[in-house]
Symmetry: D3
């Protein structure tokens, strides 16, 4: 199976935080933010695999600062690493102040997706090809995370 470059899997999504996305403190609900990240990551995984993909795990996802009603959440996703049937997708959220344009990183995390065949069983996907030094670094870090995870679980994914 022929490899595909990381840039094929890039996804950019933007959301203005609305009252319906907020908790009683006036900031976006964690659950809503993760739902946006999962959507962006799922599209990224499918842009790489071109096969239906489902979320297998959320491995590490940190909320560094809250996102307020009215702010823009810029969600970006890309495939960092591929196994045989699964891939790690890195997702970040930058928040943009609508009145000043100032942006800052508020959330980042890693999600693992699995490609599913017609019968609902995992199917093989194309390997990802990191091209830039940054992509190469992300690939190696993802590989390390995967190994640590396998070691912790003592089982293959």
């Amino acid at each position: 199976m022929q490899g595909k470059p990381v840039r094929n899997s890039l996804v950019e999504m933007i959301q203005m935080v609305r009252p319906e996305d907020a908790n009683p403190l006036g900031i976006a609900f964690g659950g809503k933010v993760v739902a946006w990240m999962d959507m962006a990551a799922a599209i990224s995984a499918m842009r790489h695999a071109r096969i239906p993909c489902v979320t297998a795990s959320i491995d590490s996802l940190g909320f560094l600062s809250p996102i307020h009603i009215g702010e823009f959440a810029i969600i970006r996703a890309q495939v960092n690493y591929t196994g045989k049937t699964s891939m790690e997708v890195g997702v970040t959220i930058d928040v943009e102040d609508p009145l000043t344009g100032i942006r800052k990183r508020t959330t980042s995390g890693y999600l693992t997706f699995v490609a599913l065949g017609q019968n609902g069983h995992p199917v093989q996907i194309a390997p990802i090809i990191p091209e830039t030094p940054e992509e190469q670094r992300m690939y190696e870090e993802a590989q390390r995370r995967r190994e640590e995870k396998l070691k912790r679980r003592g089982e293959s994914i």
Copy 2:
């Protein structure tokens, strides 16, 4: 007030069409699609004006082909033209087949936004500066649409 280039106002948003977005025929509801376009256009208007903006009109918006459940809708918006307190935002939707990656234009339209000051009255915005030939063409077409519209209505906006 200093002008700002069109590229400052670019917005890209992506949505996977879900069952909750669909009508009984299994295709995305017109109303849902317009809601996405309005959101992207509002963010574009605010990226230009850096002032809260509200939709003043939807001037012409055509649905060329349906978007099915599971497909990706790629929504793009940019400010085409600015008046004193209002601006025309052009929005397009390309649909991407998740399994083949093939994209085609399904929707395009023009929305007008007005910037609102603290008191809820329209306030002046920076002029847009078209830089590329394409941006220049969009600017002129938007200007022509505006003049036709003013003529049809026989009133200023």
Copy 3:
């Protein structure tokens, strides 16, 4: 195919604007308002055609004043004009103050719908019959809008 009177296609819908419909300024989102109009217009089109109909275009839709949380939005739709397979639906929104009952027009627009057969291709619909002078005027104006639009596009719909 036998014609049907405009009154067959009348639709009235009412919505109380809730926090979940509002933008950060506390007024109903343009996109949400259009979604209501599209829904009412789709029902109007189907009440005339009695065939599944989808939105083909939003031709001109103006937001004259904002609708606040707690206010009632009264959405009315009717078929103004029919072509062979498409029809123009006129939609208005009056906002009603819940405490005083005072109403005013806040939004009006025209949407075009197409009737779709089993195979997804446009199918012929019954002609609309304007009966009152007001309906006759709406019919003629819609006809004029259609001709202008065809002239602008240089193509048939």
Copy 4:
């Protein structure tokens, strides 16, 4: 306080049942249908009282037949009876087949609303004036229901 006729409180709302309103059997969820009825009834109560009103009880609400995806639900509400600070609102739903136009009654029920003053305590409302024989009949039946309910509870509302 001067009475107001029942016709002032009439509300008509229409909803096309969408996949997002349906349960796994493809018919509208009971909870969703009641939410529509409660919304229509709340608007009816406020059209009569012109004071913010909240649901106090749902007294008897029967689902005679299911509403399927794609069908139109026509929700109608009117104030049947008024006490000092509360009122009974009658609500019905007729379902309309989009392809044939055939309608049938699927749901009807009675809801009680209370008008709330600034401090959140019940406040007096204008008496309802039944004008037609049908309205008179509804008024008397509502009065009888109220008396039975008070007797069953052994307490005033």
Copy 5:
């Protein structure tokens, strides 16, 4: 058909009231609260019958006090009584103050569900077996309500 104890049908659900659940007064919409109760009751009915069930009626449901944004709504449901194809489900809501943990009963009601076979017609369900004195009391009260209702309607359900 073998009977099943009430405890099999117990359901506990919890919801934090979010801005999207609230009306313009900042308290949970009646319609939203009923939708939660209907969901819990439907699950309770299906836990007893193990057959798809739909809401047949909401017989008596009182809102004793409002639920504010940020509060926890604890919804509990259980089958009180079974007929041949239908059952009465009792539902209560206790509201919990998130900062003090103080709870109070805000809503209670009875809903009737019918079990549906493949063809959409009512099918027989197992009888419920009340075990505790409280369950026995609920059973008898439900039976009395059912008899009164049949008498009022002069028809069998």
Copy 6:
């Protein structure tokens, strides 16, 4: 500050998976499932702290098998461990087949929440007191996870 037992923080929530929760494959969206878990975990954190809490991170969350439309998702949360201002909440989802009652574990994960004071800064919370051997085991595992995480990040949370 006086400690509180784990059982104070227990939360049980149940959701029937509806078409609006599903992806195009007919199974619950990962993002939706995480939103439910985040809600349950937030309530659990607040039941322990009795202070507003926000999601700080999702540390490890695995989707073992899909949840289909119509199935019941039983979400359980409890505080496993407390630091000075943050706590780890363990969340599991068991899926219940509505027709057979058979349940199986489909999802489990750990989320970290931080208690926020009036000024939006973290505030001290009561220590959790594990009572049962199982709670003691969860506490120690959470402590180990926290130490590994701090080591990986080389920073305190």
